[in-house]
Structure formats: structure tokens, C-alpha cells
Subunit: 337 residues, 3 copies
């Protein structure tokens, strides 16, 4: 696709070559994200970082990515303080806010809201999550992480085995990641979840129609066997009608050191979209794995920065100019990675 | 007036020549707001963007305007997280915050609060709205819009006809705009509102004393006839005692495509301070006019950016240096306007 | 201590020579804080300004200090919008957020939370207040203020007399300031408080063991006599079980013009960590002293900016490079100090 000026709303926009392009640019961003160099390629540009649903992590990650390219960030983090609470339409919000910024990241609790917003926007919009629907930059950073982690073991995405574990019904991240993996060949998906929280049938059909193998199971121990990657998810409490309903499932599938050692192949990459729920009753991914070299969860969030930098750079058409204004960093940056 | 170092608290500070000066500087800001060029004239300066009452739009507009001049923005968007909730006086808040920034924009729900704050501030303060009282940058952007829209039809403010419609009692924007229009000659004001929500008598008197013609009516259809500009407003629910009381008036005066076509002169400019209430029960300005070339509401908010840039530049005395540090923009900026 | 790359978590980290170094760097920051010059020494650097407890003043002060060094600020001001509310551990929050920024300031309501966070962080962390426990930059700015105020009267910290007044039990600032004063010699502390809100016995023991003289009293008028500095504090309502309990003590010890004149030595420095509670029922430091030349409370908050600039510069190892990129300021900056 032509990235320049395009809205990034859904993983379904991406061809495999598009993903390759994003990852190539993301690779180039690494020295900037690691504070080895600084660039001012977007000096003077403004990101409208519009979060109409709370999300410190994603909001700060996008904002940081834009700052690292030299740009400024104006933002909101709360729907209650916005005109939307006075009956303003998404159309109006988009017309107005797009007059203030060069590019907009928008998160909103309603499915489809970001696409509707983008239609009225006069500048490119990146979907930062529209409720249970899409969160394309998360899917891209997940896939980028898988690719890099596999590469460091001389493996690749084509032909890999991946287990997805937990609330596969509501887990937006596993839906979007599955969509992206459709672009690759011959993957084995082991989908481990309570039967009530299974991966939506539509996605399973797409995967099998795409030539991939899908195993659905409630037996975690059997399912963990023979994977390159295990991708755990949190019970998405906010998508359930009541907290009580969510509590039924919380803590049913847990990965910890002893389970990993017993059931997983060595070097199986451990992923999680974060936040993980570390309360005792949940604890889907135990802290006793925190020092494990295959735990990739914080490399995932680090990769989020470079992937978001890449999206900004591609959409604003500066991907090939990053290095032009680059200079060295003069402050303390040790111990970061 | 001497802009340099002055607080901008009220439209009453402005002579006609002052308005002309703001608009002249605002005109110069257009290439920067349109991202044709960038300037660093305020590089190193800090705006304290203090919103002690929610307003995403106005907050982001001011912040963006300051960024476009090269400055940084520190801000707050919530009174609950502030020391004011621990019993701090406005005097103290002002003494402290003015030590952190080069200029302050302040919004606060209480009438007179921003003036009180400004008295204690050690840096210039711009009133971003003090409850039902003043919001001078809004009045200036409204007037700037009227001027530009009329100009593009070879008309001018002197001698024009304007209809103001809706909650004229609580509508701060129509009060302030009326004050500014006092600086011009021979205007006909048609004030269309429920009788209980009429324009305050004091303002009507000032207008007539200033040689303007004022017609007050509840008959929207008659009132719409023969205007250069119609200015619609939202029922200011937050200024009523109860939501129920506001509901009585909501939706009483509505402008849509068919009413516009039937009752307005061709090319009548349609304005609204935004947010407009697009819920079915209100809908004072219908979406079926969204594509109408005379709908100026989003040009209004765009104009807000250049007018605010002009105020910052004048108060901080850099209006004549904007172009000195200007450079071209290197990223994608198509399709914005 | 070696400042470069160090977490600043507690005043207990500081030797007297460290304090001297911070103050020396803070002195160098004055021209930048006064907007006589600007520096870009941290251009490209990002501060993660993480406030998981409301504090407009401290948050803006840190953010402003970082901007004044040329850096960018990403921030959060609300724990409710954070992953911590979804059960995320401080370990995870720290691993993630430290991938986004070059240095982090963190405030959190729980004692010990910032140290725990710092252990997992990959970048230096400055404690912006961990509940009733520590707030080292406040203690440093208080001490810096005392030093500068005394100096302007040819006095010094060694051998001075200081009265601390109010809620000495919960007042984090007086605890931390006392800790820092332990580094000096021969100070007389007069601790004036309700008997139930006395300075913790452990701190009093440390002071006397350190060779200082401590007088504890409920008699404010006697206690005010013969001090170089009086340091007033607010009743820390948020640390009491109920507001009612706090109300018992509110307003018991008040300083105003007439009490100052009657009981204090001339030139006694008046300090307060702010916010002061100016509601009639509290009013621990009366507004009738606002114009008094010995009232140092706003010089305190101004000093907060340079002290925080100094901490950033030392931890990020740029203290000696500040002037390299310095340029003059081109906008209106009169009347600030």
C-alpha cells in the first residue's frame, strides 16, 4: 500500500510487503529508540494523541515515539473532559481536532469509532484501539517481536507453531495478530482457552482457509508442547458484563517457571500484550519467569516504540529522511537495554 | 493598547486598532498553521496551559498554537488533581505557577477568577474562559472568521446584518462577540431566542447606544431573513440549575438545509462556537449542512489557532520575528485545507 | 555520591558534599530558569513524568525543569487511567515505562513504591513523593532556600535556629528537611505542634544524637522567639482517617502579621512547603504577610525549578555542558522576579 497520508485503521489493510516495509523502517529506528542518536525529522510537527479511553501505556508509547522523531505532542486522556460528553459527534470532533495536528492517534471505547472519525479527519489517523475491535500497532509490534525473537534463533514466521492462551474471545490482540499471521504460510495455531472464551469461529475459519493448522483445546499442558511462541492474554474484565463473570475464568490458565520447564520446548518465546494481571487470583504469567531469557514481554513494549515510530515516519513520508538530521546523544544512557 | 506583557482578560480591553493588529498578525500565522513553514521563534519558552475546568478543544487549540511557534507546553486539565482542592487561594496558585512558565492560559469555572489570578501572576495571563463571563480568544476568532468570510464575498463588518440564535442568556460567546462588534458601525443584530433566554438587557442597551439596530424575536423564520451571518449556540446545560430545565429549551431553534434554503439569503455565513449538540433532542445545527460552502464552523476552529498564535506572539513581543527562524516543512501535509 | 545514572529516592543518600554539588549546579541554572538564556543540552531526551497521585504543582515543576534543559515530557497524572488499576505490578510498570524515557519522576501514594519501581527501572528514577515517606527534591529545595535566604543576611545553616510548626507527625517535608539538616552542625530545632501531631520520636532522637538541640512545645508564641527560620506546615488531611479528625487540629497554629511582629525576630525567614490552606478554618499562614520581604514561600517554589534542573543535569551527566548550547532569549520576560 501507499503509506504516505494513509489512515492506519486495521491490520486488514496490510499486505505482507507492507508489513515488511514497516519492519524495515522499524529496524532503522532502533538507534534512536535506544538513545544512541537523535533525529529532528519531525521538528515542528504535532501529534494529536487523543485517548478517549484510559491507557497510560499506549498513550505514552505513541507520544514517546513521536517525540523521538523530533515532534511535539498535544493530548487528551479522558473522555469526560471532552466535548463528546456534551453531545458532539465524532464527525465534528474529527473536523476540529484535525485542524490542530499533523497526525492523530485515537483510542475510543466504541467499535468502529476510529474509522468513523478518520473519515472526517483532514489529517492521517492511526487507530490506537477502538474497543474490542482493532489495535493495529499492537498487532504489528507483536509480529515484529515474534520475527525478531525467532530470527535470533535462526527461525522464521513461516512454518512456526504458536500457542495463544486465555481469553481468546475478547482478546483484541490475538484477533489482530491472527489476522496478520494470515499473511504468512503454514503456521500451527494452538488455541488454549475456556470453551466459553474460544477464539471467534470466523477467525478460526479464516486461519484454516488460509492453509494453517488450528488446534483448539482446554488442555493447557498438552497445548504448550512443541511451540516456538506462547502468547498469553489477560481476562478482559472490562469486556464482561460483571466482574463476577470475569472472575470465573481468571487464573484458569497460568504459565510459570515449573510449567514452562515441564511442558514447553526450550527457547519457546513467552509473549503477553500487557498489562498482565499480577494479582494472586489472576497471575496468568508468573513473576518467577521475570529473569527468563525467553520472556519477551518487555522487548515487546520496547518494540512498540520503534514500530510506532515507523508508522509515523511512513504515513508522514519521512522514513527516508530520518538520518539526515541525526546527531549523537550527549547525556547518560547506560543500562537501558 | 500595548500588547507586550499584557494580560488578555476581556474583550473590553480591545480598541478597534487592537483588533486590527491581532488580525494582521493572525494573517501572518497562516503559513505556519497550514504547515507550509515552521518557526522556532518561541523555542525554549513554556506555556502554562492551566485548565481548571474541562475543555479538550480549547486546551488543545492553545497548546497547538504555542507549539506552532516553537514553544513547549506544560498543562493541567483537571481541578480535582490540583492544590485548589486543598484550599489553596488563587493568589498562591498564581504566584507559584507563574514561576514555572513564560505565559499562562487559564480556564476556571468561576467568574472573575482569571482576573484575580492574573493580578498575582508574574507572567502574562490569557483568559481561556472564566465560567459564564469572558473568553476573549473565542470572541476574536469569531470576529476574525466573520471578517474573512465577508471579505471573500466582498463585504465587510461595518453595516452587516447578523442573527444570533439560541441560548443568548448564558452564551458567553455571543456576549463577547457583541462587545467586540461595538467597535464597528451600523450593524443590525437579530437576536432569536426563547424569551427566558434573551440576551442580557445590559448588552442590548450597549448595542443600541452604540448606534446599532437590535431586533429581539422568538420567530426564527422571520429573524433568519436578510442576514450576512447567522450565529447559532448550544443550550448551555452546565449553566442551568438542572438538566430538566435545560431540556425545555433544547431543540427549539434549529437550522438545517431546508430551513436555510427557505429563509436565509444565499451565502449567509453559518457559525457556531462549537461543540454543537448533535444528539437528536438538540441538534441546533443539522449535519445535513455539513457540506454547505457557507458552513464556517470548522474554519472558525482553524482560525482559533492563528488568532491564539497572534495573541501569544503579541504578548510575548515576537510578532515581528516569526519569519526570522522559519524553515520549510518536510513531511506530508496534503489535504488539510 | 556518583550522581550519574543514580536513582534519587531519599534524602538519606546525600552527604553534605552531595548537597553542596546540587546547590552549585542549581546556582548555575538560575539564568535559564529566569529566562535570560536558553539551553538545549537535553534536546531529544524524554522525561517520563509519572504521577500516580494528583499533584499539579510538583508535576508541572518537574516538567518545566526538564523543558528548560531542552527535553521533552511525557506524563500521566492519574492512577485511575493506568494499568496499575488492572492489576499490573510496579515491576511491570517500571520495565515498560523505562523503555519509553531517559529518566522518570514518579509519585505514588504508597510508601516504598518508588524504590520498588526504581529497582525494576532501566533508567534513573527520581522520587516525586511516595505517600507519607520521602520527597527528596522538596527537602533539597527547602534547604536551598534556607541557605540562600540566610546568605542574603550573612548567616549560614550551621548554628542556625529553626522552628517547625504544625502537623509534624504527617508532614513529610519536615521529616525530610530534618534528615538533611543532620548533615549540618549545631542547629536548634523548635518543634511546635499539637501533642498528638508531634515529630516522630525517631527523628527527634537522630537530631539530638547528631548534636543538635531540640525543643518540643505546644506554646507557639514562646517557640517563635529567636529563630532564623520558621517553617509552617498544613494539616495533612489526606493522611488522617477522617476529615473530622483533621478538623480538630486545623487552625490551631497560625502565623500572621501581628504574631510575626510580636514574637519573631526581625528578618526571620517564613517558609511553607505549599499548598497552604487559605480557607478561614485553617489559614495556617495568613495572607496579610503576602508582601512581607521575609516571606520566602514563592522563592521556595521558584527554587524548586533550579534544584530539579540540577538533579536532572547531574543524574543525566550534563551538568557541565549546560552552557555549551546556550543562547539568548528573544521574547518578553520582564517582571518575572
Amino acid at each position: 500500500m501507499e503509506f504516505c497520508g494513509t489512515h492506519i485503521l486495521s491490520v486488514k489493510q496490510f499486505e505482507r510487503s507492507d508489513v515488511d516495509r514497516v519492519f524495515e523502517v522499524a529496524d532503522n529506528m532502533a538507534p534512536y529508540a535506544r538513545r544512541e542518536r537523535i533525529t529532528k525529522v519531525l521538528e515542528g510537527a504535532i501529534l494529536g494523541n487523543m485517548f478517549f479511553e484510559p491507557s497510560t501505556r499506549t498513550r505514552v508509547s505513541f507520544g514517546c515515539a513521536f517525540n523521538l522523531l523530533g515532534g511535539q505532542v498535544r493530548e487528551t486522556s479522558d473522555v469526560k473532559t471532552s466535548s463528546i460528553s456534551k453531545g458532539e459527534s465524532l464527525y465534528d470532533t474529527a473536523r476540529v481536532i484535525s485542524g490542530y495536528s499533523d497526525i492523530i492517534v485515537m483510542r475510543h471505547p466504541q467499535m468502529g469509532s476510529v474509522s468513523e472519525f478518520a473519515k472526517a479527519s483532514r489529517v492521517p489517523v492511526i487507530n490506537g484501539g477502538d474497543g474490542p475491535n482493532e489495535h493495529p500497532s499492537q498487532a504489528l509490534l507483536d509480529l515484529y517481536t515474534i520475527k525478531k525473537e525467532l530470527l535470533s534463533n535462526d527461525r522464521q514466521i513461516d512454518g512456526m507453531n504458536i500457542a495463544m492462551i486465555g481469553d481468546l474471545k475478547h482478546g483484541r490482540t490475538v484477533h489482530s495478530l491472527s489476522q496478520l499471521l494470515l499473511l504468512y504460510d503454514n503456521i500451527t495455531f494452538t488455541l488454549i482457552s475456556p470453551i466459553e472464551l474460544r477464539m471467534p469461529a470466523g477467525i478460526v475459519s479464516e486461519l484454516t482457509a488460509g492453509g494453517h493448522k488450528v488446534i483448539e483445546t482446554e488442555d493447557m499442558e498438552a497445548g504448550l508442547n512443541d511451540n516456538d511462541t506462547v502468547y498469553l492474554t489477560r481476562i478482559q474484565e472490562e469486556r464482561f458484563t460483571t466482574k463476577l463473570e470475569a472472575d470465573i475464568y481468571r487464573g484458569r490458565f497460568r504459565l510459570n517457571q515449573s510449567i514452562y520447564t515441564r511442558y514447553c520446548q526450550p527457547n519457546t518465546i513467552i509473549m503477553h500484550p500487557l498489562p498482565r494481571d499480577s494479582r494472586e487470583e489472576a497471575n496468568e504469567l508468573d513473576n518467577d519467569l521475570n529473569q527468563h531469557p525467553s520472556l519477551a514481554i518487555f522487548r515487546q513494549t520496547d518494540n512498540g516504540v520503534v514500530v510506532r515510530m515507523a508508522l509515523f515516519a511512513l504515513v508522514l513520508n519521512v522514513a527516508d529522511k530520518i538520518d539526515d538530521s541525526a546527531t549523537d546523544v550527549g547525556w547518560y544512557t547506560q543500562g537501558r537495554f
